[in-house]
Symmetry: C2
Amino acid sequence: MKKLKNGWVEGSVQNFLELSNEDMEYIEMRLALCRLLKEERRKQRLTQTQTAARLHTSQSRIAKMEKGDPTVSVDLLLQALFRLGVKRKELAAAI
Amino acid sequence: MKKLKNGWVEGSVQNFLELSNEDMEYIEMRLALCRLLKEERRKQRLTQTQTAARLHTSQSRIAKMEKGDPTVSVDLLLQALFRLGVKRKELAAAI
DNA sequence: AGAAGGTATGTCAGAACTGACATATTGTCA
DNA sequence: TGACAATATGTCAGTTCTGACATACCTTCT
């Protein structure tokens, strides 16, 4: 997966970076998971710090997860979502 | 996420390992993706070696992906699936 | 303006993942 | 059975991810 030195691709530079449609799908799916995480946290009226405590991680990582920071894996996003109580059905809908 | 030294949990040792239901969901989802990868490869009548070439990786990694080896991340599984042409809709159905 | 709560960004040591390679096992033919 | 293709398993150096910490950036108060 092509990645920039310091972040994901943004906007519509797909051609310039020669990103395949498949890679675009992957990135879009990541972003969907990020959005879902933020929504779920807000739905439960938690701050990032509270969420971090609940997930045994740090506030900064929660912020990065929600922002789609490239240093956050899909694995981490999925584990976070499940631990917040999101069900696979909801995931499937969000993807 | 609790992991054994050399592999995932198997069978029904959930209690012994104190795996939460959320973690179980995560693991089950992983396995669903593994199965989907194998199915898709077979549907396209590819060997693991051919698939490896197409995805720019090695046969052993394909084998590990399909076997649910713990050294394989969901990120890798998803990228592989997308690059084999699986669509998000199909993913959602498999999850 | 200043303080406080919440969110974002940068960095880093330790942990986990990846591709590659070697080798072993399984399957399938003649 | 033997030979060959396919799949599985073990290992490792290089890369990437993670939690933690510091710190910066907002908002929203008074």
